[in-house]
Symmetry: C2
Subunit: 439 residues, 2 copies
């Protein structure tokens, strides 16, 4: 008989052959280690999508939660419904009303952050090989889910007004012509992550019309919709199409992410499946978290709080855009987002954002390379810059450092010519950021 | 062009054709409606697996959580690591040490209840058609997960000492001979849900030896291990085999389920995949919940609390067993569990527990029919009775009502002969209970 230690190591190796096919795509990115370095305090991280919650009144939050424990502790600490706490689902309908949505609490399913909603929707709809249409670029965390369920992703272009209807139509036509099954369009209409753009009102109708005609379900992911800087929330796609849209929302950016409370609003039949999927995944979402969020919504001026958040983020957006204007080489391009957390910046031709990242981290600034937001290796000349978390002063300092790294890179390139934008790195898809940078 | 309402209803119907293949098995059971009735206060529910947390000191819990918000609010309400809060993972290692496990916090992954751990392990290991070996009967919530991932389930018999090693060997041999791939053995060694039995110490070694020889991974699910009535916690399977066992634990029964904090302890390579799967599923488990549990563990005599829970549950177990002895027909059989929440009761030949359930609910008592705990339609003559939640008086009253229903059923049967044990009901598999009854 073989000895124990040998067997153990043999078994350890043999896990590789035991995993499900879907697990093959789950690999830690080579840039994860860089992000670990980037979390050091001396580094200005423009990478993370963490909301800045320092403005939350801890005394108010502490008060509502203490009262929750004292008055409803045995319920809050118990198992709950797989669909979520009824009172919270009613409040969620109030929140969605700000975007023109009229919905019934029965059609809301509470999820562990809206990330889990993406997971559950994909779980119930997608077989391996099915296609999801996504914007180009798209949210890295959603691309990770689609990959985990072995979906194909087909990207459709955006411009300053968001998803381009003609590009959407073309993507649908080409995918169908290739004999593939499209399960849904995944779209972030407001203050896009990572592109920062917003789908115009006119285009919302066009996108819905295309999806109706082509019989494509829409997955509308809207974590940032209430965080606009200059106008009232836009009308959601779901407000004009109840049967063909699954709407996802979250309290992570309008209150706090640590409770992990998001939701899906779905047509009735789909909602039933989502509840069964939720029960299978977690039995029920955390009752305590849900009741804490519910108590906060009842016990605090949450809309006033969102107004404060918007002002704070607008100030940071301004700081970033001013710094970019002042400091970045003229050959860079970026957008000026009207809400949300992100600026999408495109580098001069030939500069690779991923290849440059180690040098940026050495210079004490971090960002997420554009390739993370494409399933197909594109995006190498772009990056996502987040202005949500650091102070305006730190943002300016971060941009200053980034400009310095970029200038050195451009100088090298001018001296040595079009070197080697490492195509091996560019060709990798997807899952490039650790969890706090996925948001 | 067709009009909007017509198209809408067409699309609603057409969801049926759009779901993933895995979704076909996700259907609400016909007995769910009965459980909705069973949750009325006049019904004694012996169905639910909800822990009785009325003994928790709300002032202590409220105190640690208030302090958490006041002193660490901005961290507790923020995103966290996909693997879970480091301090909590250290405390989890302390908890597992009570069962002889020596583990490193690096190998622990926090999950949204241990239900999510079952989901994530299945996600990374199981392709459609892969087989999981389960005890007969087995936990309904795990069977639901295996079904959702399109696994085959092969049951292996238990007796009063838990899983029978020869039955395990036979199940493995037969499954391999049929050319199928076994991904793991799913086992609940302590105070089994639903069977109430515990795997003897001698058999633990036998089961491990078989799994080593056959190269089968063990998924050891242990929510009740610290809730024994007459002896110290038994040594976990994981304590004697680190490489071949994934161990799942939970705070739902030893503290409170409303925080949804469970965990998986896995070999290093598997742990890495679990973290990636967790990030894809939720980004990170709820930071607030984790820190609340951690604060409770540091700030309270949690082991003393578990001792109180054990005494409370033992009293209820005694009440149930005494009532069964006093009131049930002699032709029924049941076990006397030495811990946990459940008694497994087998009815006289010819009486179908599922067919009898509507009459039981009418008589204001509820249980979970045995078929819920089998993937293959067996179990029709058995039921799970939970003694965890109702008071001893209510338990006795519930058993009294159940005995009355059963006697009427037996009388009918004596009068009219072996009628029709509805085979359509028996043939259904799995997912028979709503979330709070799944635990």
């Amino acid at each position: 008989m073989e000895s124990q230690p040998v067997r153990a190591s043999t078994r350890l190796d043999s896990y590789v052959d035991r995993y499900a096919a879907r697990t093959a795509g789950m690999t830690a990115s080579e840039i994860r280690a860089l992000f670990a370095v980037a979390s050091r305090p001396e580094v200005v991280s423009l990478a993370g999508g963490m909301p800045n919650i320092s403005g939350l009144p801890l005394d108010v939050v502490g008060g509502v939660i203490s009262e929750l424990v004292a008055t409803q502790g045995p319920v809050a600490m118990q198992y709950g419904s797989g669909q979520g706490v009824p009172e919270l689902r009613e409040q969620i309908c109030e929140v969605m009303r700000l975007e023109g949505i009229e919905a019934h609490p029965d059609d809301v399913v509470v999820t562990v952050g809206s990330q889990q909603a993406v997971d559950l929707v994909t779980r119930i709809f997608c077989d391996p090989g099915d296609v999801v249409i996504c914007e180009a670029p798209s949210y890295v965390g959603a691309l990770g889910v689609f990959k985990a369920y072995q979906c194909g992703v087909v990207h459709a272009e955006m411009d300053a007004d968001g998803l381009v209807p003609e590009a959407l139509q073309q993507a649908i036509t080409a995918t169908k012509a290739a004999g593939k099954t499209i399960k849904f369009l995944y779209t972030i209409p407001n203050f896009h992550n990572p592109a920062g753009v917003t789908l115009s009102a006119a285009r919302r109708h066009e996108v819905l019309e295309i999806c109706r005609r082509e019989d494509i379900l829409v997955l509308e992911d809207n974590p940032y919709g209430l965080l606009g800087f200059s106008h009232e929330p836009m009308r959601a796609l779901r407000a004009d199409e109840a049967e063909g849209v699954i709407y996802l929302g979250s309290f992570s950016k309008t209150f706090a992410p640590g409770f992990r409370v998001g939701w899906a609003l779905a047509p009735h039949a789909v909602r039933e499946k989502l509840v069964l999927a939720q029960e299978s995944a977690t039995l029920c979402p955390p009752q305590f978290s849900q009741m804490a969020v519910s108590a906060y919504l009842s016990g605090h001026d949450w809309q006033g709080q969102i107004k404060q958040f918007r002002e704070m983020y607008r100030e940071r957006r301004d700081a970033m855009v001013e710094a970019l204007d002042d400091l970045m080489p003229a050959s860079c391009r970026w957008n000026v987002p009207d809400g949300g957390f992100y600026v999408w910046l495109t580098l001069p031709p030939g500069i690779d954002a991923k290849a440059m990242l180690p040098r940026a981290v050495t210079a004490r600034v971090a960002y997420v390379p554009g390739t993370a937001f494409f399933a197909d290796g594109f995006g190498s000349s772009s990056m996502r810059l987040s202005f949500c978390y650091p102070t305006p002063e730190r943002i300016r300092e971060g941009v200053r450092r980034l400009a310095g790294v970029l200038e050195a890179e451009m100088e090298l390139r001018a001296t040595f010519g079009a070197g080697a934008p490492a195509s091996g790195l560019e060709a990798r898809s997807g899952y490039d950021a650790p969890s706090s940078d996925l948001t």
